[in-house]
Subunit: 594 residues, 2 copies
């Protein structure tokens, strides 16, 4: 059945789930089809609420609860003539009769509702492993506004002084920050060796160190086995191996899983991650049933695999597209890059496209480069560095992904790179991008241009890179490790076995370097060592530049270098700019710090 | 002569001008060619200084003069082995002998310097029309750090209380803001009917009103005819028609013109704007002489015409490319979009690609749409609206240009749109862009996605637009002007002759609308009227939606609507977020304001 706009055959479209994708779908459907009957079922009390704002409501950064309620059923109905039924749970799909079974939680009654087209947008639910004590009243989960109300009430009434957050994904980090900002001692426990699995390990290390600087405890590679009462009546969180963390409350944010039970029971096809499989028209294995948002799995445009990407942006896009297709239009949702961002205290962490782990796992040929550009022109107040990791094809330079950690301007650069990746641009294009420059906003060579120059030099063969994690395999009698930073920098910390010739002395002292060896050159960030490689190569040496410099070396070797150079300085810089009221104060502070 | 990297034939490269493009060229040249002799002549005292920061140094936003001096000749030489000669003016090019005539201002001596390749990067100089009194000591120009020193000294020593700024381009606006922030009464005089000719008129109106809100006087369409002494000894600025502005100082920022005298005298080809013509390899009409940066004219990638684009980003890119070509590499500089940005008090104004004036002048078919998205999710504190104007091809939807006015997030959106324009994307692509969403940074449907949806609806024919400036020609007996805002909004101001049916009542009251007429529908921003058009079209009406709504109507009709709706509110919102320390204060202020 095709329903063109203005069609004289009103049809019934039933949408399951009234948040993000569901609400987008309903509104678009109405604009395309004024005469359709549109019914939107929502199990909870609220439609179109700001689920990405819940943790900020909890921490008080968003003060008013009503701010999270973007639409009420009444206003949505007045505007879009959509029959919104809240507290109404769809408990079964009868595909043969094209109807759904609805449980009205207000009355306890069940009824059937016919559909011509059904759109599933139930979202994803927090993972809730069957651990002892996980249902205890001091163990919290966060999905709905009511969950936030419960945690808020507990924090206000029970005066907890310490919390354990289980899980280092987006929600876990936001919760940890929120509770820390409320004054609690917070310990974050993460099963993997790093937080934020979207990031590669060395970038995650920036987050680890920043969290520690902010006074949080971080237990990585540790698994929680249960929750119980400590002898003093407080909450005991038991880790694998028996260690107990005694605290006043725990929040579990172990991950989310697609709410696919309804689809599974209706016999719709699910993928290996337990998410609903849809075609490029967002149809499930039953062409009259669409699925959108967090309940589905998404084609990873870079790695070429199916992944579960629970992101609001994707859900919203899909909601609109599903409506378009139901209205008889041609659509194709080809997949996603999975662009994401999160703020953790002062740090902003963002990524787009594939990370290195994924590329390695998918056998996609890739090279990487690291840069440390400033958020805007260094001569204008407030400029702070960031770390960019760019992944690209070593053959044609196509951009495969990017990750950025910084405090300012991160969102802008990841959006530019997401756009470039979407457009299929290569690293050769990045230097050509004309990005807006005034000293408050960028540099004449913007951070993205610089990343492009660096990667372009690699693809063009102007410089050969090596990476800090390859160093153990590279060091032997045929290599010579050269640090071209100043003597002062070298003395404050360097890689074991390196010789030091500062870049500005290199043209006078290059004869000190043994000939016939492969030179492994590094500096703090990779800029000076790049110039050194160029100089030495033209003197006849074989050279390789350590991408990202000593900063990335330290991030890759946290045991050897407990502090990433510069990270504490970023934090200070930020604090200075933000909290010191007078320029004099700032100057004084800066002086004592340096 | 080709000089491949590592070549054994050292050559002499002479660069004229040590700022932006020149310094970039020298550094890149050295990296590619360790053995070349590189000589960089700079007429002034400083190389590689932050010319885009001078007006902020003047206003005190950049406090330390040394911050502007990004490189010293000594450090540049130590790092790049470049023979930097400051206070050395190249006064002639002898193409026949491949040499330049240099005047050493330190000694007064002249000498010749041979070159194999010559790179001209002299920049552009302020336009200095031959007006009576323009050389007076209270009339200032701003190009160099020394100019800023002079103005700074005058402000500190002579306690001027009022200033006239002549010219409403980037520098004029920055100067006006800087002097205003120093406490002066500032009047800005601009010959054209608008400031910032990069912008289309209606977008410039946001800047006009914001400047007035900030207490500045603005005289548009007025020409300055001379400067003289007022009877009380102050400075009199005479306007065409005889009006005199009495003030304590004047700053002329009438524009810049390419410093092309040297090239012209050497017989190199100049374009109609008096700028040096270069080919895609950045060579002038003499293939051994390159020209880069503000002295050249640039191919406008969208309009297909040659324009003078004095932008630091372009100069830097060209500097590097010229070095690449001299080193024997293949390069092609195809042209530029001219992305630019400026902050004026709280407003940020940015553009990329062509504006409507240029497209009209170049006979490029174009359509436009206006949107008013929020800087980030409305439920997170600090969200402020912006105005986006998108220009695109009505045929294939290709993006031709964009302009944005707002207070936050403007730089990010213009950079995304600049990247999309560079990549040749269409409005159909914009909704698909996956831009990073967390509530501090954006929305699940980002501002750029929304602009894409709106333009896509136009190209797809889902809605037909009209523009506020077409209204006089459209209104007749066959049209019906419909305002779908609330009764309260309507009462506070509406377009003459409009009927009012609020959107949420439209499904009950559409029968009130006369049939057979073309409906011209508007609301505040264009969203509600779009839905109204969809509803009414499906009821059988012919409809057109006023793009950008009443906000843009007011910006296009400043005489009829002296205040753009919302602009004062932006300003308040911003002041509230920035200056009020407690949430209670903010709430109080907000309440009294609404």
């Amino acid at each position: 059945m095709s329903m063109n706009s203005g069609s004289q055959h009103p049809a019934t479209i039933v949408i399951v789930g009234g948040v993000a994708g569901g609400a987008s779908c309903a509104a678009r459907m109405r604009r395309l089809h004024e005469d359709a009957q549109i019914i939107m079922f929502e199990r909870g009390e609220h439609i179109s609420f700001a689920s990405c704002g819940i943790s900020y409501y909890l921490s008080g950064e968003i003060q008013e609860r009503r701010k999270l309620l973007i639409q009420t059923p009444e206003r949505f109905n007045a505007r879009f003539n959509v029959d919104v039924r809240i507290k109404s749970e769809v408990i079964a799909i009868h595909r043969a009769t094209k109807s759904v079974e609805v449980l009205d939680h207000k009355t306890g009654q069940q009824y059937r509702q016919h559909y011509d087209k059904l759109v599933l947008s139930p979202g994803a639910a927090p993972v809730r492993p069957p651990l002892p004590g996980i249902d205890g009243e001091r163990v919290f989960f966060l999905r709905s506004i009511e969950d936030a109300d419960r945690i808020k009430a507990y924090v206000q009434d029970a005066y907890p002084r310490s919390a354990v957050v289980v899980g280092g994904g987006f929600i876990g980090l936001e919760m940890a920050e929120g509770l820390r900002n409320l004054g609690l001692d917070v310990t974050l426990v993460e099963m993997a060796g790093q937080v934020m699995l979207q990031l590669d390990e060395e970038l995650a290390e920036f987050v680890h160190q920043h969290m520690k600087l902010k006074g949080m405890k971080l237990l990585l590679g540790r698994r929680v086995e249960g929750f119980g009462d400590a002898p003093d009546g407080r909450l005991a969180v038991t880790l694998q191996g028996g260690q107990e963390l005694i605290c006043d409350m725990a929040v579990c944010a172990i991950g989310v899983k697609p709410e696919a039970a309804l689809a599974r029971e209706a016999g719709l096809e699910l993928g290996p991650h337990g998410a609903v499989i849809v075609n490029r028209q967002l149809q499930t294995s039953d062409p009259d049933i669409y699925a959108i948002g967090d309940v589905t799995e998404t084609h990873d445009l870079i790695a070429g695999v199916m992944r579960h990407m629970p992101l609001a942006g994707i859900a919203n896009k899909q909601g609109r597209l599903a409506a378009d297709h139901i209205a008889g239009r041609q659509i194709a949702f080809d997949g996603a890059l999975g662009t994401s961002i999160v703020r953790i205290f002062d740090l902003v962490v963002a990524g787009t496209g594939a990370n290195e782990k994924t590329l390695r796992g998918s056998n996609v040929a890739h090279e990487k480069s690291y840069t440390h550009p400033a958020s805007h022109a260094g001569y204008f107040p407030g400029a702070v560095p960031m770390v960019m990791k760019l992944l690209f094809s070593p053959d044609d330079g196509r951009i495969l992904g990017a990750q950025i950690v910084g405090v300012d301007g991160v969102d802008k650069r990841i959006d530019v790179l997401a756009t470039a990746t979407y457009a299929g641009l290569t690293v050769h294009d990045l230097p050509k991008l004309e990005l807006a420059y005034a000293p408050q906003f960028g540099s004449a060579k913007d951070a993205v241009n610089i990343a492009g120059y660096v990667a372009d030099n690699v693809v063009e063969g102007d410089v050969e890179l090596f990476h800090a994690d390859e160093l153990p395999a590279l060091i032997d009698n045929d290599t010579f490790l050269l640090d071209v930073r100043t003597a002062g920098e070298f003395d404050r910390g360097h890689i074991n076995g390196a010789a030091n010739i500062p870049i500005d002395n290199l043209r006078d002292r290059w004869q000190e370097i043994p000939t016939g060896k492969l030179l492994l050159v590094y500096c703090l960030t990779g800029i000076r060592s790049y110039l050194a490689c160029r100089i030495l190569r033209q003197k006849g040496f074989r050279t390789r530049n350590m991408s990202g410099g000593y900063v990335i070396y330290c991030a890759m070797n946290p045991l050897e270098c407990p502090e990433i150079p510069g990270l504490r300085r970023w934090q200070r810089l930020l604090a200075l700019e933000t909290f010191c009221s007078t320029p004099e104060e700032r100057k004084t502070l800066r002086r004592t710090d340096e």
